[in-house]
Subunit: 332 residues, 2 copies
């Protein structure tokens, strides 16, 4: 019998999560029923949105249950199949999350073509991460050539794709991160027009210098004081795709901030929270376009791969240290 390991939510965190919020369980892998497949996990994704699901709060994604597996995107190889069109050896993408093995409906996984790109890109630039950047920026942000696009969390998985797509669309791109290494990469490798380090620079001044014509699109991954500073520079009719608020996810006691509805009003600005799943009908237009940009070298991606399934919580917790450059994955 195959043993499967999985991480379950042991307790809900107050503020910053710790290893204690997770519990590793070892169990027998269920045999597939008709229509099901068993998979062996190859890569799994850890993402900031998972922090929200650890709370028991009204949100766009369902809270994890105490004792339940931490769900999320995973890529695996089919090891047993009772589904008509999934064969043993196929590489598939699914939502079974933090497990070394799983038995799931064959209809609820998507095939991954290993000849198109490295398979783990189906979790990153050609997966939810890339799609989040693509739709948030293009559908809500709608950058025009010559406009200034600012992205916070610019060295993160989504942020670095946002900046590159904005460059493809002819915008001037300003990235904000908290690391010199990230900022060097964004400038030198990805062609960002300007970068700001929110940890070492005077944020307001550095941003004003980086955005002499104001801000037309602000793709927000972080919230908090970084966002406060960007909001001071919004141009008329600015668009703000709201993708994440990572700086606030682990704050146990909410601190107030400046009231900025008056600014949004006087600049006739748009703020829109979104969920990539709202664009599901249009994935099939986005993925080939992004795959084309990858092939042409216009779109680059960075991965940070931790090896060893049991280090999944560590990989997840690392998302909040501000150190990870690009997409954080676990190789199981």
């Amino acid at each position: 019998m195959t043993q499967k390991k999985r991480f379950v939510l042991a307790s809900r965190p107050e503020g910053m999560p710790t290893q204690d919020n997770f519990e590793l369980k070892t169990e027998e892998l269920e045999a597939p029923q008709d229509g099901e497949i068993s998979v062996e996990t190859l890569y799994l994704s850890v993402d900031p949105y998972m922090r929200g699901r650890m709370n028991d709060a009204k949100s766009y994604s369902k809270p994890y249950e105490i004792g339940g597996t931490l769900g999320g995107g995973s890529i695996g190889r089919v090891i047993e199949s009772r589904h008509a069109s999934r064969k043993v050896g196929d590489i598939v993408l699914g939502g079974w999350g933090w497990q070394t093995h799983a038995t799931v409906s064959g209809d609820q996984v998507a095939p991954v073509d290993p000849d198109l790109a490295p398979i783990q890109t189906a979790l990153g630039v050609l997966g939810m991460t890339g799609l989040t950047a693509y739709f948030g920026l293009l559908d809500i942000g709608q950058p025009k050539a010559g406009e200034t696009v600012v992205v916070s969390g610019a060295g993160g998985a989504v942020g670095m794709i946002v900046g590159q797509i904005a460059k493809i669309k002819g915008a001037r791109v300003v990235g904000i991160s908290g690391s010199e290494e990230k900022n060097r990469y964004l400038s030198e490798e990805l062609g960002f027009d300007a970068v700001v380090n929110y940890k070492t620079e005077s944020l307001g001044e550095a941003l004003a210098a980086a955005c002499p014509d104001g801000v037309d699109v602000y793709f927000d991954n972080v919230g908090g004081e970084v966002t406060d500073a960007v909001f001071e520079l919004l141009n008329s009719n600015a668009r703000i795709p709201l993708c994440g608020q990572i700086s606030l996810y682990n704050v146990a006691k909410k601190e107030p901030g400046p009231r900025f509805l008056p600014q949004l009003l006087t600049r006739t600005a748009l703020v829109k929270g979104f969920l990539v799943g709202q664009y599901q009908d249009r994935y099939s237009e986005a993925i080939p376009e992004m795959a084309g940009w990858l092939k042409e070298g216009k779109l680059k991606y960075r991965e940070n791969i931790i090896e060893g399934f049991e280090r999944t919580p560590e990989a997840f917790l690392g998302l909040f240290s501000g150190d990870n450059l690009g997409k954080q994955l676990v190789k199981a």
Copy 2:
């Protein structure tokens, strides 16, 4: 010679404006040149947005200049004309603002048909006020039948029209104001489904009771703590047309408030500041529709008319006391 009186901005207010910020001047009315007309003011509009124009700040509308006339919507009778299609005696709508008489380009006024509705409605329900309600609610708010629409400043000129249009569209309408008299009018005369008095009730509890199914559309005229309370109740995909922030206009020292981008994110909500002028191309579709609702009795309006041009500053300052019910006008 005709004498004209006008109010100019004497000084910029810090916080709440006072009579001292305005200065009355008496001058000779200029004779019209080719293409110009002279008008005698019949009614003029005072509106909360004018407070913003008294500041010297980046905004959607140009700041008033010190020593310059306070601009705004006015209705007058043509008393002299050197314009081909404006005749003496015509009633016209223009932007000459706080003046008893003015000489302006005949191209920059619009004719008002006294047979359609009382002429002063061209400043109110069939003018900028009504159009603001119409486009903010229908274009940004997009209420659907059965949804809950909350409007703050519900007893104000824009708010009471918003609520009635939302009722026409089949929504459940909740109005927030600070006066029992206003709330009685909203419930009894305009058919609002529920009303909340933010001054006498515990806002969070009263709102939650008034909105058992949450809030789908929040038309915001006031901002501040009223808005904070409504934001707690937003449903997924809520839409928030941002029309005014009157509670904050006269606050000299900005106080912080709760950070609500996380809520907008998890509810995938939309916030959009707007300016009625952005919909200029569509006025001709909106005015006949609203005139039709007026005729059918589905849309009612209330006016608060102060008589005497010299009381214009008093009428304007009254907007911030929370006492005015409906559209505030001055009869010159």
